[in-house]
């Protein structure tokens, strides 16, 4: 491309302004001063100036065998010019250029959400050079294995591991959680997060687009450009549509010998709003999601998710925190402190989740040396402390130890079990001392979120779990779920989802992405409760950042709003073309300038309509 061509394109906005001034000047001389000559000259100059950038773009398109909108407009303007209809040629070029200017401004707005995200990407790093000194380099020049220095207030440039130093990092850009996380030697750090205090030396493990942050950005970028079936159809359609409009105009001209009509057809056949309407909704919707901790992987996902009628939840880690805690306890001894100290000392030896829950519950307490421990598989632990035989475990272990369970203890056990607890009993020298009920906690706010999902039109809310039916029923009752199934292995879960699908349901599966990947993949919409982990990002269609369950209703509401927005834009775009086509044949008032005005207006309307999604909130 020549220097002149590039110069003209770069001055597009100036040209638009000058031709506006010329057009106003032309019309005032004609209408105000009846000075035809000046009017014709200024309008003609406006036309030539205005058509220059459009014609260049048209020429470049034709070179790669694409009949673009620019081609249609250029031919129409040249036609009008040759007919000496300078008013029309000037106004059409101006409207086209001005429309493009407004389009660019508004499009940038719809892209702002994603831009905020990419601007958080690190740009430079302090890298250790061969002489041992740290020098500032571009982040692109950092390779895996390089040693980097990160100072307070700086962005972590790559995914890496801490070599030395300590500090607190704000990981909000990855996890959405803004409470700083403490880091020391061997901790993992993520690109794009911010070191709030301290100084770290890190070794680069993953750089650039391979970092978690890079992957999130790439994912969102590709999602915004991914195309649904409908969009691909529109694309194919417009590929043939523009040449078809050109052909139609030529045929009309050959038969009617009416050049005026033919060039008007060229202008009003422009597919403007149709091509841009759907992507605009898509971009704005996905952008809104990215800003609110919801990653939507493309417009296909938006379409499917907006129609969901059944949501299946994994229990542990999804509806519950996946972090069991002591919920109920009873003591059968006077010296509670000593029992707790024995219990904590024994449980510290174990890494069983129930043992961890107990140690955490008891907290700091006197610790006894353990003389000898025996692990009884599936039952518990027997240990000797201070010359006492201490047994910690379930009811089976107590029976083996010949511990007498009194009436009261039996009643407590029954009550604890009914509440969905796993039981831990403690006996000292074959005498029952304490009973603890441990259960997984329901995430705060889940009940309200599920209500919102129901209000949004989801009919079936199902929980699947590997736990026993009693526990699952309890959770279902407490949360108001429609169905609950216990004793489910991962294979059973995916089979169940398969069944729902064959029954014609549109199923979303919500899991933590750890062991339920088959179900995530099988459901029409796989929703991962991820804290930015790779597995969750890869296998699912929707990622709720930072495992934030409360994002789920927002995600569903957003996809519904986005799908509706796309439909509105398609109706607007198709409607405008149909009305224009009908009026050119049926009415007197239609001409090139009006057609162009309506077109540019319709493009702005669909963009503005799409922008509403940026502000969507449930």
């Amino acid at each position: 491309m020549s220097v002149l061509q590039r110069f003209i394109l770069s001055k597009k906005n100036h040209i638009t302004l000058i031709s506006a001034v010329l057009i106003v000047f032309g019309f005032t001389s004609e209408l105000g001063f009846k000075n035809e000559i000046v009017a014709i000259w200024s309008l003609a100059i406006a036309s030539i100036l205005g058509v220059a950038p459009i014609a260049i773009q048209a020429y470049q398109a034709l070179k790669v065998k694409v009949v673009s909108i620019d081609v249609l407009v250029t031919i129409a303007v040249i036609g009008a010019f040759l007919l000496k209809n300078f008013e029309e040629s000037a106004i059409v070029t101006f409207l086209f250029l001005f429309g493009a200017f407004l389009e660019q401004r508004t499009l940038n707005k719809t892209r702002s959400a994603i831009k905020e995200l990419t601007e958080m990407a690190p740009e430079s790093a302090l890298k250790q050079m061969d002489n041992g000194e740290f020098e500032e380099v571009k982040v692109d020049d950092v390779d895996v294995g390089d040693i980097l220095l990160v100072k307070t207030g700086a962005k972590i440039p790559v995914d890496g591991t801490v070599l030395s130093g300590e500090g607190h990092i704000n990981e909000a850009s990855i996890t959405g959680e803004s409470v700083p996380v403490g880091k020391k030697k061997d901790s993992g750090v993520y690109a794009g997060t911010i070191l709030e205090n301290g100084t770290l030396q890190i070794v680069a493990d993953r750089v650039g687009e391979d970092t978690t942050f890079g992957r999130i950005i790439e994912l969102v970028e590709e999602a915004q450009d991914s195309k649904s079936e409908a969009e691909r159809f529109i694309d194919r359609f417009s590929k043939y549509y523009t040449p078809a409009v050109l052909g139609l105009a030529i045929i009309v001209w050959l038969f009617s010998r009416d050049i005026e009509l033919a060039i008007t057809l060229l202008v009003l056949g422009c597919p403007g709003a149709l091509v841009i309407g759907v992507p605009v909704s898509n971009v704005a919707g996905i952008g809104n999601g990215a800003r609110h901790g919801v990653l939507l992987k493309g417009s296909e996902v938006i379409g499917d998710f907006s129609k969901v009628d059944t949501i299946v939840f994994d229990k542990t880690g999804t509806l519950t925190t996946g972090n069991p805690k002591v919920a109920d306890k009873e003591f059968y001894a006077d010296s509670v402190g000593e029992v707790l100290a024995y219990l904590a000392s024994v449980e510290k030896e174990s890494d069983h989740p129930l043992a961890n829950a107990i140690v955490e519950h008891i907290g700091a307490i006197k610790s006894y040396p353990i003389e000898q421990t025996d692990v009884v598989k599936g039952a518990g632990i027997i240990a000797y402390i201070d010359g006492h035989r201490v047994a910690v475990g379930n009811v089976t272990l107590m029976e083996r130890e010949n511990v007498h369970l009194a009436e009261k203890a039996r009643a407590d056990i029954a009550r604890f079990e009914k509440n969905g607890n796993s039981l831990v009993l403690i006996s000292v020298d074959s005498e029952l001392k304490a009973l603890m009920g441990i259960r997984d906690q329901i995430r705060p706010g889940v009940k309200e979120d599920l209500q919102k999902l129901k209000k949004l039109g989801v009919k079936n809310l199902v929980v699947l779990s590997g736990d026993n039916q009693g526990t699952v029923d309890l959770v279902a009752r407490e949360l108001g779920l429609t169905e609950a199934h216990g004793h489910m292995l991962p294979g059973d879960k995916s089979k169940y989802i398969e069944e729902l699908k064959t029954k014609g349901h549109i199923v979303a599966f919500v899991g933590d992405g750890v062991n339920d990947s088959p179900s995530l993949a099988l459901a029409q919409i796989g929703i991962a409760m991820g804290s930015g982990t790779d597995v969750a990002i890869e296998t699912s269609d929707v990622v709720l950042m930072n495992s934030d369950f409360s994002r789920l209703p927002h995600a569903l509401g957003l996809t519904k709003a986005t799908a509706a927005n796309m439909h509105q834009n398609i109706v607007i775009a198709v409607g405008v073309v149909l009305v224009l086509l009908a009026s050119v044949f049926l009415s007197e008032w239609m001409n090139m300038s009006i057609a162009m005005l309506v077109h540019e207006a319709s493009i702005l309307v669909v963009i503005l309509n799409g922008m509403r999604l940026l502000r969507f909130k449930l």
Binding site: Q60, K63, K65, D70, Q104, L107, N108, E209, E222, D225
Partner: protein, 77 residues
């Protein structure tokens, strides 16, 4: 095969995508199937055979269409 990402100045018209896509695909050494022009993020991504073509050549072809290349990145695949 190497993988390249070229960052362009903001794209505004969807027909630009068509133009750039066609121009890039027509170059010898570029894997046609891999060419992706991302409208929203104004990026061109493709795989290419380093023995037949360089990123500079592709950049030139895109610049010739009238789009300004901001930066490009090449990675081994």
């Amino acid at each position: 095969m190497q993988k390249a990402t070229i960052q362009l100045e903001t794209l505004t018209c969807p027909s630009c995508v068509q133009k750039i896509e066609k121009a890039t695909k027509s170059l010898v050494g570029v894997d046609k199937e891999s060419v992706k022009v991302l409208f929203t993020s104004s990026k061109v991504k493709f795989d290419f055979d380093a023995e037949k073509i360089s990123v500079g050549d592709v950049e030139k072809a895109i610049t010739a269409l009238g789009y300004i290349v901001l930066k490009s990145q090449v990675k081994d695949k």
